[in-house]
């Protein structure tokens, strides 16, 4: 019995030591074969347009840092923010943090991201970057490096517009006329394409109309402006134009219908261009892009790189080296060339890239002129999820109900005023 106890005690001690060793191993930086391993989850790891850039950049980084490996892997976009939220809340963030920029402020406001002011001060980023880099700022500090800021463009099917006898629209009124003319024709053609089920894309699409009409959801001092005359005009335009859109579809279905030649016009960012390249030849030749039909170019921030707060100094330095490499002129030019969208560094659109993708000139101009659709009020910015839901619900009321626009605007005004009360 004593022997058994001794064996049992020895077994327990070995097991406890193993658990402690495993736990200790999980505390410090992750290493493999003596190399530091940086975990880098992204929704772009398998993306046809963006992954070639990332793989080239990672290879260059690993060549320059033979003692570091980057574990770059795919996480589906639909669950990306939820997964990162869980990891940060559980104290287990990834090393290289790649975020949809609209969520970056929410993460920064919760103390999950490290401020980058000192590191950025040692670079030319703040002098050479698009003004949209300011969206990486929270409470006076920069928390990320913007990788893509853009202006929205009007993608259109020239053939469908010609068959309907209308010109490419330059104003919201012309947009509505053209959309109605296409939809009035027989067949399965739709004048305009948009997300017509409740979805985060409702926010970007409705807010594009809003910003395009010189309006916004809030002022920088926090005053909510969803029920102004301009805002109501934008809501009315959105409702009327979307009445010509296919009902009950998401953005992917919208894009497929556009590429099939069944949608005449849609408003989207430059990243749609790579999908347009995949359309069949007989449709592709009719698909064109131009400036959006608004007085103001609505724009947005797409994605950004960050360092997690509380990272080990060795890890934080290694991640910063990666972020800094991505910001170098050579890699910014390569980003533009490979992805077909203008990188945020000034002068990233080279002659070679322009020769390959002539639309880059338009996209670069739109990005420079763009006014961000992200809310201005700090209260709304740090509660973007709630704001996005409130605006999406208003969008659905406009699309799927007969509620008067004034009533939808008043209700949205109340919802946005209530954001952050809890």
């Amino acid at each position: 019995m004593i022997a058994l106890h001794r064996k049992l005690r020895r077994g327990l001690a070995v097991a406890a030591a193993a658990v402690l060793l495993a736990a200790a191993g999980g505390c410090g930086p992750s290493t493999e074969d003596g190399k530091l391993v940086l975990e880098f989850p992204s929704w772009q790891a398998d993306d046809e347009s963006f992954s070639p850039f990332w793989h080239e950049l990672i290879a260059a980084y690993e060549n320059a840092h033979p003692d570091v490996d980057i574990d770059f892997y795919q996480v589906p976009f639909d669950s990306f923010v939820a997964q990162q939220t869980t990891r940060f809340a559980a104290g287990d963030p990834p090393d290289i943090v790649h975020l949809p920029s609209s969520n970056a402020v929410e993460f920064a406001a919760r103390g999950w991201l490290a401020p980058l002011d000192e590191r950025l001060a040692g670079t030319d980023v703040l002098r050479t970057w698009t003004p949209l880099q300011e969206q990486m700022k929270w409470d006076g500090h920069y928390y990320g490096l913007l990788l893509l800021g853009y202006g929205y463009a009007l993608f259109y099917n020239e053939q469908l517009l010609q068959q309907a006898g209308v010109q490419v629209p330059k104003t919201p009124e012309q947009l509505l006329t053209a959309a109605r003319a296409v939809s009035a024709k027989q067949g399965d053609s739709f004048g305009f394409g948009a997300t017509t089920v409740q979805n985060p894309d409702n926010y970007t699409e409705l807010t594009s109309f809003l910003v395009g009409n010189h309006a916004s959801w809030s002022e920088p001092d926090g005053k909510i402006t969803a029920d102004t005359e301009r805002a109501r005009t934008a809501l009315e335009q959105y409702r009327e134009v979307l009445a010509t859109a296919p009902p009950g579809i998401q953005s992917q279905q919208r894009n497929e219908l556009f590429l099939n030649g069944q949608i005449a016009m849609l408003v989207d960012g430059p990243f749609l261009l790579s999908e347009v390249e995949g359309a069949s030849a007989e449709v592709r030749e009719h698909l064109k892009v131009t400036a959006p039909p608004f007085d103001v170019v609505p724009g947005g921030v797409s994605n950004s790189l960050h360092i997690p707060a509380g990272a080990e100094p060795e890890v934080a330095d290694a991640v910063w080296d990666f972020v800094e490499l991505a910001s170098q002129p050579r890699w910014q030019e390569r980003y533009t060339q490979l992805t077909g969208v203008p990188a945020p560094r000034e002068g990233s659109v080279t002659e070679q890239a322009l020769a390959e993708t002539p639309e880059l000139e338009l996209f670069a101009r739109l990005a420079d002129e763009a006014v961000d659709i992200f809310p201005e009020s700090p209260q709304l910015r740090r509660n973007y999820g709630r704001v996005g839901d409130a605006v999406a619900a208003a969008a659905i009321r406009l699309i799927a109900t007969d509620l008067p626009v004034a009533q939808v605007a008043q209700s949205l005004q109340r919802d946005l005023e209530g954001v952050g009360d809890d």
Partner: protein
């Protein structure tokens, strides 16, 4: 054997030994069998429940779930949640969704069980096909139905237009009037086979003599169902309804991928709200408080339903 044992008995008299009764031995055996399960369930269930309850009483902007102790204890989350008019709407939609799923799923399951209890040509093919939906993951069902219910090119609109039931396409998932029905349909499709399985097993346990006696007494088919079949099905049916009802009450797999709780909150049930509070709005405390409220409601329903099940068994 007696020769071998006999000397031992005489040379070494055994000390008076306290022998365990059979009941004691059975109890020890039962506990030894149950202990691993109790330990596993305790670890897998009790700890998360403790964390959820702890979280629900924490105030401030919670950003670190590993160190909940740093956040002040408060009843604020419950006060906010209980006074929020949206909660009643969420509970109501959860009930509508649960009843909307359980009633038709039970009816289909019962009908199929009665059919599968009969002998007919092709039964061996029909039986696995009828039970197939039970094996399909909820998210896969949702993906398939999102295309079928598509407002512009979905096959459901096509079929309804073909038979003249609708003139124009219906945006099933985009309209507040139809979205709840649109999420109930795939959930029913997924859950009816469970009722079929349980009820077929119960039907096969009914002795044929009872039906024979009923027929001799001149009972009609309906009277045979009412006085022979249904009394035998009542307890398993109640149990299956309770299990399915509680499962559907907190169901997330179908609603979130199809509508995300929209349009305009038309399909926001308690489960969707819990997710949104935590992962869309980052309000972990409120999310946990709604989770606890949901747990209490589900527990109360279970207690009430448990009484029905016991009555059914009696």
């Amino acid at each position: 054997m007696t020769d071998v044992l006999a000397p031992a008995r005489t040379t070494r008299p055994s000390p008076p030994k306290r022998r365990r009764s059979r009941a004691q031995r059975d109890r020890i055996f039962a506990w030894s069998m149950l202990t691993p399960t109790i330990a596993a369930v305790g670890l897998l269930m009790a700890y998360p429940i403790y964390i959820a309850i702890n979280l629900s009483f924490r105030g401030g902007e919670i950003a670190d779930l590993q160190n909940l102790g740093q956040y002040p204890l408060t009843l604020g989350n419950y006060a906010d949640v209980i006074t929020d008019p949206q909660l009643l709407g969420d509970i109501w939609r959860s009930i509508v969704y649960t009843v909307g799923v359980v009633v038709p799923a039970f009816a289909i399951g019962l009908g199929l069980a009665l059919l599968l209890n009969k002998t007919f040509p092709g039964k061996r093919i029909v039986r696995p096909l009828a039970l197939l939906p039970w094996a399909v993951p909820g998210v896969a069902v949702s993906a398939a139905f999102s295309w079928m219910l598509d407002g512009s090119f979905g096959v459901i609109n096509y079929l309804l237009r073909s038979v003249g039931l609708i003139e124009q396409n219906v945006a099933w998932l985009a309209s507040s009037d139809t979205a709840m029905t649109a999420v109930i349909i795939p959930t029913v499709w997924k859950f009816y086979p469970f009722f079929t399985l349980v009820l077929v097993a119960a039907l096969q346990a009914i002795p044929g003599d009872l039906y024979e006696a009923a027929r001799l007494d001149g009972a009609s088919a309906w009277q045979q169902f009412r006085y022979v079949t249904w009394p035998a099905l009542r307890a398993p049916a109640a149990l299956a309804i309770v299990i399915t009802g509680v499962g559907v009450f907190r169901e997330f797999d179908f609603i979130f991928p199809l509508t995300g709780g929209g349009p305009d909150d038309a399909t926001t049930t308690l489960a969707v709200r819990i997710y949104n509070e935590a992962f869309e709005y980052f309000t972990f405390g409120a999310s946990a408080a709604i989770g606890v409220v949901t747990m209490v409601i589900a527990g109360a329903l279970l207690l009430m339903a448990g009484r029905s099940v016991r009555e059914g068994m009696n």
